[in-house]
């Protein structure tokens, strides 16, 4: 992945306890319900002993953006990739395009939802396992690339289709 200045949220699978507070914070903050399907973050437990909090990586080339036939996905001046609800009609093209399974449809509205790096969950993580970063910052914090390597090593389980 090329270096970018774009921000995204990342979590440490060795530190995350798997408590789902990030997931529930998100669905409550945005949709006023508790429900992982309404959340923009997922948490996946993979034994032995790994818990992955999973977010949009805010890719520089943002394949979700180019995939959308309705041009409903755009990048703000601050670098956040967002969904324009007025334009989104739930084609699901972004879902197929996202290499991180980080975008899906809200079951009620049928419109795409994804993490927009608001930081509400980061603030509430009781294990301090997630934080907002950029590729450069992450490299500084984790020079051996342990965290991204863990994600890469479990790619198939993490980014396969959620329903599987």
């Amino acid at each position: 992945m090329p270096m970018t200045q774009y921000k995204y949220v990342i979590g440490d699978p060795h530190v995350c306890s798997g408590c789902m507070i990030c997931v529930n914070t998100c669905s409550m903050f945005y949709f006023k319900v508790i429900g992982p399907e309404w959340s923009r973050v997922r948490v996946l437990r993979i034994e032995p002993g790994l818990d992955f909090p999973l977010f949009c990586r805010n890719c520089e080339d943002a394949p979700c953006m180019s995939a959308c036939p309705n041009e409903a996905i755009f990048r703000t001046s601050k670098g956040v990739v967002m969904v324009n609800n007025k334009k989104c009609n739930g084609t699901g093209a972004c879902i197929a395009a996202c290499p991180y399974s980080a975008i899906h449809l809200n079951p009620d509205t049928g419109k795409a939802i994804k993490c927009i790096q608001c930081g509400e969950c980061v603030e509430r993580c009781p294990a301090d396992a997630i934080w907002t970063t950029t590729s450069n910052e992450l490299e500084e914090r984790d020079p051996d690339g342990r965290i991204l390597k863990l994600h890469d090593d479990h790619q198939k389980a993490l980014y396969g289709r959620q329903s599987e």
Partner: protein, 627 residues
């Protein structure tokens, strides 16, 4: 309309293979809440005296709490209950995990299983679709294999609750497991599932939970989280879970050792939390909405005791370690892991083995009985081997699978006096001569000896402020003194009322009792913002009291009276031989008198008085016990 619920209850007739969905009975909910309370009422009504715990007439209930799957700290829990095949009285056990929240998200709050299937089955739930499936592919498999197979079949996102081979083999200390290594361990309820030929409940829920006050929900949670995170207990809880209780209990002489002959163990450092943390801990693990993450994920990397998996906690260290005189930590961890995969209660397994070890020491059990197995204290190979043999009911394990009470009845020769049990269930890891309230709590617990029914830990670690706040200044200093029997009847009564209520809303005792951060006012607030239930702290207290009384009536109906509320003679008559609590006995009768009085139960018989039952709205049930 009550918010924050799944909404429906599943009624599964295993004989007829019929599944019915009914709404939660709001009348019951308002009187008993959900969880332990709801099960208490339904099973009381459906399971009369004379029922065979392992027969088709027994009813197995599994219920979430009103706050299960909420964002309140530590709100992941469910309760399993039935007539117990171990105690022959009220049987109830609880666990945390993700299974219960998943059930809520599928739209259900509880399920009841009646009858008995002719072939092994499992219940599969995918939101609205609920079906009984042939369990041939998982019958005979352990809990972890069952989880793997069912999630391979129905989707990795499913959560499973299952029994292992122990439950299938009707081992009387079989657990109901969930999320692989979480255990509703006590009272042998896994055997009830086994008898019904119900192997597992696999759940996938993709729904949502609507709460009563969504606008202010996170604001309130932020306050709860802040309090929990700033509690001085947090740091140690995260670092050690409950494993470091070995060191703390050794320090006060409350670490059951050598079948509770004594409360100190010379090898305690070898099985300590410190050692587990340094040598075997992979990471602390949490369940749904849990901030404290006392769950451990551990591994022994090589040797005969190699494994990787969840936990242990203090109870397993003491039961499979000090209680059996065993200072080989790898074997403690491994036999604990075996209990998880076979689906057994580590407390009863370790305690039953330790009973056999003492009977061996006394020459009452010989190698003829054991088939050549050596029962010397601390023989870790024996402990590991017997754990497996109990689960599979092999050889001498078949006798131990009955629990220490029944095994001693068979062996006879005076081995009965080494049974450290109340109402046939083995006493958990609290040497009560070093903490009197725990002795009383073991005796009054409706489900046979169990530390969690009252969980009276406030006299354990200097919670004077909380005692003042919760009970009143006038009870200090005596109530806070763990060796002083005074006021322990009052304390255990109030702790029971609170704890059964905690188990009825789906919360953990960690956070509500130790550390005692959240109390009635907080739970009342949570019920308001999550469920929209307006229940005052006083009414909540009464609900707890009502549940305890109904549990008692369930047992009184089965013939339980004060004579059954009794500890093994060792603990009431023999002074603790060594350690910081040397010379102490449990002054049980004195505490019991106080307890019955404050409960409004007859002091002679231990039966609830008519006016008590009337005050709690249990007039109908009162008729069942006559005069």
């Amino acid at each position: 309309m009550i918010k924050g619920l799944g909404g429906e209850i599943l009624w599964v007739d295993l004989t007829e293979k019929k599944i019915e969905k009914k709404p939660v009975d709001e009348k019951i909910l308002k009187k008993y809440l959900l969880g332990a309370g709801y099960l208490s009422k339904v099973i009381y009504d459906m399971v009369p005296p004379g029922t065979d715990p392992l027969g088709p007439e027994n009813v197995l209930g599994i219920a979430t709490g009103t706050l299960t799957a909420s964002m309140f700290p530590q709100s992941s829990r469910h309760v399993v209950a039935a007539l117990s095949p171990l105690t022959d009285v009220w049987g109830e056990s609880h666990a945390a995990g993700f299974w219960a929240p998943e059930l809520k998200l599928a739209g259900y709050d509880a399920m009841f299983f009646t009858g008995e299937s002719s072939n092994p089955v499992y219940l599969n739930i995918k939101d609205d679709d609920v079906s009984l499936e042939d369990a041939q592919i998982v019958w005979g498999k352990d809990v972890f294999e069952t989880d793997d197979i069912l999630r391979e079949r129905h989707g990795k996102a499913c959560r499973t609750l299952a029994i292992g081979q122990a439950g299938e083999n009707l081992v009387r200390m079989a657990a109901v497991m969930n999320d692989r290594d979480r255990a509703s361990a006590r009272a042998g309820l896994g055997a009830v599932m086994g008898a019904k030929k119900l192997k597992a409940v696999c759940v996938r829920g993709t729904g949502k939970i609507e709460v009563a006050d969504p606008q202010n929900y996170l604001k309130h949670m932020d306050k709860f989280y802040k309090r929990m995170l700033e509690n001085p207990f947090m740091e140690g809880r995260v670092k050690f879970g409950t494993t470091s209780l070995v060191e703390l209990m050794q320090h006060i002489g409350r670490l059951p050792s050598y079948n509770m002959k004594q409360g100190v163990f010379e090898g305690y450092e070898q099985i300590s939390g410190d050692r587990i943390t340094r040598e075997f801990l992979i990471k602390p693990r949490a369940d749904w909405s849990c901030l404290q993450r006392c769950g451990r994920y551990t591994a022994v990397e090589k040797g005969p005791y190699k494994y990787v998996g969840g936990s242990p906690e203090f109870e397993s260290q003491s039961s499979l370690g000090s209680r059996c005189g065993n200072d080989n930590l790898e074997s403690v961890l491994y036999s604990h892991h075996l209990c998880n995969i076979y689906g057994m209660d580590t407390i009863s397994v370790g305690a039953t083995i330790s009973w056999a070890m003492e009977a061996w020491e006394e020459g009452l059990i010989t190698s003829e009985d054991t088939g050549g197995i050596d029962l010397e204290w601390g023989n870790h190979e024996t402990i590991v081997k017997l754990t497996e043999m109990i689960a599979l009911r092999e050889g001498f394990g078949d006798l131990l699978a009955e629990g220490s009470y029944r095994a001693a009845q068979k062996i006879g020769k005076g081995s009965e006096k080494f049974v450290m049990a109340v109402k046939k269930q083995e006493i958990a890891g609290q040497e009560p001569r070093a903490q009197k309230s725990m002795g009383l709590a073991a005796v009054t617990s409706a489900r046979g000896a169990d530390h969690l029914y009252a969980f009276p830990v406030l006299d354990e670690a200097g919670f004077d402020d909380e005692i003042r706040e919760r009970f009143g200044k006038k009870y200090l200093p005596e109530m806070a003194e763990r060796l002083n029997p005074k006021y322990k009847g009052i304390m255990v009564k109030m702790c029971e009322d609170y704890m059964v209520r905690v188990e009825s809303v789906g919360l953990c005792k960690y956070g509500t009792q130790i550390p005692p951060e959240f109390y009635y006012e907080d739970v009342a607030l949570a019920l308001r913002i999550h469920n929209g239930l307006e229940i005052s702290p006083e009414e909540l207290e009464e609900i707890g009291e009502r549940i305890v009384n109904l549990n008692r009536l369930f047992n009184v109906r089965l013939g339980i009276t004060r004579k059954d509320d009794n500890l093994p003679k060792r603990l009431t008559d023999d002074p603790a031989p060594i350690g910081p609590s040397a010379g102490e006995v449990v002054e049980l009768e004195q505490m019991l008198d106080e307890y019955y009085k404050v409960r409004g139960w007859d002091v002679e018989t231990g039966v609830p008085l008519p006016e008590t039952l009337e005050r709690l709205g249990l007039q109908e049930e009162a008729k069942d016990i006559g005069e």
